[in-house]
Every structure is written in structure tokens, then in C-alpha cells.
């Protein structure tokens, strides 16, 4: 038997994480939203993950976040725009009268009251204790009712066979999928790929990710300082994704 004590595990884990950062990406210091949750511990509702997007720092010409997400989660398409999945997209919003426009990324908004979860017949659409909305693809039957219910068009249906998936992001034909807040990274104490890329690759820092329940987190501080809004706030879904500047 091969059981590690929890303490050894944790030591190994932290050491391995530190080592791999040093060895594989010298010079890059990853911003950490929080420490990785201890191995073997479930997500809890003490944490509520949130994302704040400052549209003033976001540019219509930039889609670094989209590319980063696609690379991280491997949702490359087949050049069929109607059926290819899009976990995150840049939307341009134009005021019809003045012509003023802004650009912002839209992905799963990780609602506290997610309509997709309410309508799902099998419970495959689910909200984790820490507020991350996911599809449990093991019991998804591909009925697409969640896609009918989502006000943000955040979900995609996998319309054809998938090969060469990323190990941390299994995907397969006939099920529904969407942004996971990069749950595999977050559980590991890392930032979602889009947030990391926005800061490190694009140098914009338009996205702040963190724990809304922790008053000392960057996101909680920003949210308490600036007026923020949510897409279709009228629906009262209490999304985890918030915006500034529209």
C-alpha cells in the first residue's frame, strides 16, 4: 500500500509546485489568488470565486484572454463557426445613438442563482460550494436545456468528436461545456488562464480574480472601491463575474 500521510502529501505538493515553477518557467512569478486548497479537502462556501473585468483597460483589438483559454482548455474548433465551441468571446457593445463602443470578454458568469442549474434535468449542471458553475459531463445527457436557459450564451454544445484533449480538461461529443473558471488551476492555487494572460501577456491587467468573501483579496477591495455592474443585472442572478465601466 502506498498511502502518504496528509502532511507528506502537502509537503510534496508544495515542493513540487515551487520546483516546477522554478524549473519550467524561470523568471515568471505567478500571481496566486490564494493558496492551493489542501489535498483531499473539498471546496467550501467560505470562498466565493469572482472575477472583475475593467472594460476601460480592455481593448477591442485584443483577444489574448480568448487565445489563452483556448490553449489552456483545448477547445479548438473545426472552422465551423456555427457549431464550434466558444468558452469565452470578445463582445463589442455599441450605443446605437452615440456610436460609442466598448469591448469586453463574456464567459460563464458563474451565477449564484444559475438558471442552467435550475433547469438541468439530471443535475449535471451544478454549482460548486465555492460558486464555480460546472457541467458534470459524466451525467450530462446533451439535452441543451441549459443552453436555452442561459441568458449569456455562455455554453456550447460539443457538436463533433474531440481528440487530443488536455488532461485537465476532458471534453467529448454530445455534452455541453463552458468556462470552468479554470477550476483545475484554481484548485491548485493558480489564476485562470485568461486572467494570467491578460496581466502577463497582454500587460493590461483588466481582469482581477479572487475570493469575494475574503475582504483582503484584491477583488474584494476593488469591488468595495468602485461601482461595478453585472450583465443583465435585472435578472437578479448574482453573478460571480462583474464589470466596471459600462
Amino acid at each position: 500500500m502506498n498511502r502518504l500521510t496528509d502532511a507528506t502529501r502537502r509537503k510534496l505538493l508544495k515542493g513540487a509546485a515551487a520546483l516546477s515553477t522554478l524549473a519550467l518557467a524561470p523568471g515568471v512569478m505567478l500571481v496566486r489568488p490564494a493558496v492551493a486548497r489542501e489535498t483531499g479537502k473539498p471546496a467550501t462556501s467560505n470562498v466565493r470565486w469572482g472575477l472583475l473585468i475593467d472594460t476601460a483597460k480592455c481593448d477591442a483589438g485584443c483577444d489574448t484572454c480568448v487565445t489563452a483559454c483556448r490553449t489552456e482548455n483545448g477547445w479548438t474548433g473545426h472552422d465551423r463557426p456555427q457549431t464550434d465551441p466558444q468558452w469565452i468571446r470578445k463582445v463589442t457593445v455599441t450605443d446605437k445613438r452615440s456610436g460609442a463602443a466598448l469591448s469586453l470578454p463574456v464567459m460563464c458568469q458563474h451565477c449564484a442563482e444559475p438558471p442552467c442549474v435550475d433547469v438541468c434535468p439530471t443535475g449535471a449542471s451544478m454549482k460548486r460550494a465555492d460558486g464555480i458553475v460546472l457541467v458534470d459531463k459524466h451525467i450530462c445527457i446533451g439535452c441543451r436545456y441549459c443552453m436555452m436557459a442561459c441568458p449569456f450564451k455562455a455554453r456550447s454544445f460539443v457538436h463533433e468528436d474531440v481528440t487530443d484533449q488536455k488532461p485537465h480538461a476532458p471534453r467529448g461529443k454530445g455534452t455541453v461545456e463552458s468556462c470552468t473558471f479554470c477550476v483545475h488551476r484554481v484548485d491548485d492555487g493558480r489564476m485562470p488562464a485568461c486572467v494570467e494572460a491578460c496581466t502577463e501577456k497582454a500587460g493590461r491587467g483588466a481582469m482581477i480574480f479572487g475570493d469575494l468573501n475574503d475582504p483582503n483579496s484584491d477583488i474584494a477591495k476593488a469591488v468595495s472601491k468602485h461601482v461595478t455592474t453585472r450583465i443583465r443585472a435585472d435578472l437578479g442572478l448574482d453573478q460571480g463575474v462583474m464589470y466596471r465601466g459600462f
Partner: protein
Amino acid sequence: MTSKPILQVIDGDSAGYFTLVGWFALFVLAGLGAAWYMEHNGHFVTGMSNQIVWGTPHVFAVFLIVAASGALNVASMASVFNKSAYKPLAPLSALLALALLAGGLAVLVLDLGRPDRLIVAMTTYNFKSIFAWNIYLYTGFFFIVGVYLWLMMERRMVRYSKPAGLFAFIWRLALTTGTGSIFGFLVARQAYDAAIMAPLFIVMSFSFGLAIFLLVLMASYHWTGRPLGDYVLRRLGKLLGVFAAAVLYFTTVQHLTNLYASEHHGVEGFILAGGSVYTALFWVGQVIIGGIIPLAILFHPVTAGSRSWIGLASALVIIGGLAQVYVIIIGGQAFPLLLFPGMEESSSFFDGQVATYAPSLPEVMLGVSGVALALILVAVAIKILPFLPQTLDDASIDPHFKAEPAEADASDEEEEDAAGVGETAEATPGT
């Protein structure tokens, strides 16, 4: 006086019968093939997309499910509302209801992304989901109508058929409410977010179900050469007229209430005046072909009494019904979601754009196979079990028959609650 039961199996040994069943079987097989093709390749081979997530299969499935509960009308009128004239027809009505529901559900299931996980859908439930409730409503419907059917056809049990009929009637109202609520609860979509969806679906079910029933009744009597009097047909025809009018009325209310809220002006303008295929389907398909023309036929003194006209009106109601469900399901999705009301949106994911959709052949084949499945079930069932009355000529049906069919609306009261089909036969003058 003869004690021979009035219900009798059809012979079903003619070349015509086998040709008919053969055709239905062919369509069912084609539908299975289409489903296999869609699952094997993935849904990208259909017209459906991430914009239009429910397509033609859902139009047929919803139509059939809605019609199923409506097909039970005739039985309900006999058992619950004591209309004695319909008693001999009640078993056929219940059978048709079961068959239509089976056809609709088969289509729905075969369109799933993972039909192989049907067992998951049957064993894992999220009780907040209307879909999950519907699974119960559908299974319950099979069970309750099945029992009801048995009580009606088993002579010793016939006296229990009335409470069973009442229960089935209530259940079917719940079922259609559930089906309508699948759409009514979608707050995000401008076209659906309305409580009127549930009652609208109920009147739709009355109308579509009765239209299908009329056609099945006429066809089976015509092909088996059994006598079918005008009395039944005229009464059912009149009823169909009332239901078709009710559908028009509820549709009007649906759109008027939506027009009242300015936030829904966009989608209303799109459907009612957008010039798209949905506008045409709405006005020409649903309103004119499925509403006004059948109404004219069914209430005009010249055509109202003619069975070919009644048959035509039923067919038109069905066509209009399909158009209506198409407009609701696909037109409702074609109108873009408003993420930023009042603003213009654009993206690589078709935000702010009216979605395009064209039904693909496999989808249509799958949808039609649901209809074929329902019909083949009926055709086989009436051969195995006695569902069809031997005769429905005026003499055996019309309580006031006096050689010259009287205006027969006056009194329909039926005193013998317990009287079942067999007893009716004995009580019928002239048998």
C-alpha cells in the same frame, strides 16, 4: 339483442393494411438511421448549432407530446363529462394518446447528445427542473392512461373507468402545463418568458389532438369499410372549430401582452413583422392555414357537415400547429439574446445577430419518424386488441336518432354512469 361486444379488432390482413404498416415501418427505420447518423457524426451534420440548440426534432417532439394529451379529449368527454356519444370512441382516443406520446418521446430521446445515457435521465433527477418533472409526468401518463384503458375495456372493471378517466384528465392538464412551462420558465429568452405559455399549450393540445384523432378515425373507418355516421363527425368537427378558435384567441393574448411590455417589442416585431421565414410561418401557416381557414370550414353551413371538409380542416389544423410550434421553438431562439438591452452587440459568437437555421434532412427524418411510430403503434394495436367500434353509424351513436338525424346538441346527459362500451351497445336501439 346481441351480447356481442361492439368493439372489434380489425382484420388487418389486406394488402392495403400491410402496405400501410410497411410504409410506417420504413419511416421509423429511416428515423432510426437518421438518429444514428446524427449521433455518430455529432450534431454538426444537422441544422442545429450553438445558436439554434433545439431544432426540427424538437418541433415534432413537442407537437406530438402536446397532441398526445389532446388526443385524450374524446375519452375525457365520455368518462368525465358523460357525453355518451363518445363512449365507444374512448378506447381509441386513449390509445392514440399513448401512441403519440411514445412517438414524441422517442424523437426527443434520439436527439439527445448522449442517448446512450438515457438511464441517467431515468435515475438521476434534479427536482428543480421542469424537465425532470416532465419525465414523471410522461411516465405517469403512460401508466395512468394504460390503466384507464384497461378499466374501460375490461367489462367487469368498467365502473371504475370514470374515476380513472377523471384522474387521467387532470394528469393530462398537468402534463401540458409542464410542457408549456419548459418554455414559460426561460426568463432569459424574450420570446418565452411568459406565464401564458402553459394555458396556450393546453388549448393547442386540445386542438392538435382532436385534429389527429379525427383523421385517424376517418382513415381507419374508411379503410376497414366500417360504417361511420355523420353525427359523430359533425360534433367532433364543431368541437375542433371551438378549439381552433381558442388557440387563435390565446395566441392573440400572448402577443398582445408581450407587445404591452416595451422590453419585448424587439422579439415581437421580429416574429410578427420581421419579414423572416418566421413571420411568414406565423401569419400564413399558423393564423391563416391553421386558424382562419379551418374555422371558416368548420362553421360554414355548407362545409361544416361534410366529412371531406372536416378532414381537410383537421389536416390544416395539424399543418398550422406544426408551423406554430416551429415559430415558438425556432423563431424564439433565432432572435438574439439581449445581453445589453438597448445596445448593439457583435462578436464572433453571433451576438446581436438573428440566427440562421435550415432544417436538415436527418432532422426531418427523425421528426417524421416520430409520427410514423405513433401511427404504426395505432395500426398494430387496433389489429391486436378491439379498440375500434364495429360501427359508428348514426343509429348506434346518436341517442336521438330517428332515421333523420336531428339537431343533436340539446341533451347529452347520460344517466348510466356505469354504462360501459358493452352496455351502450345493448342499450342502443336497432342492435
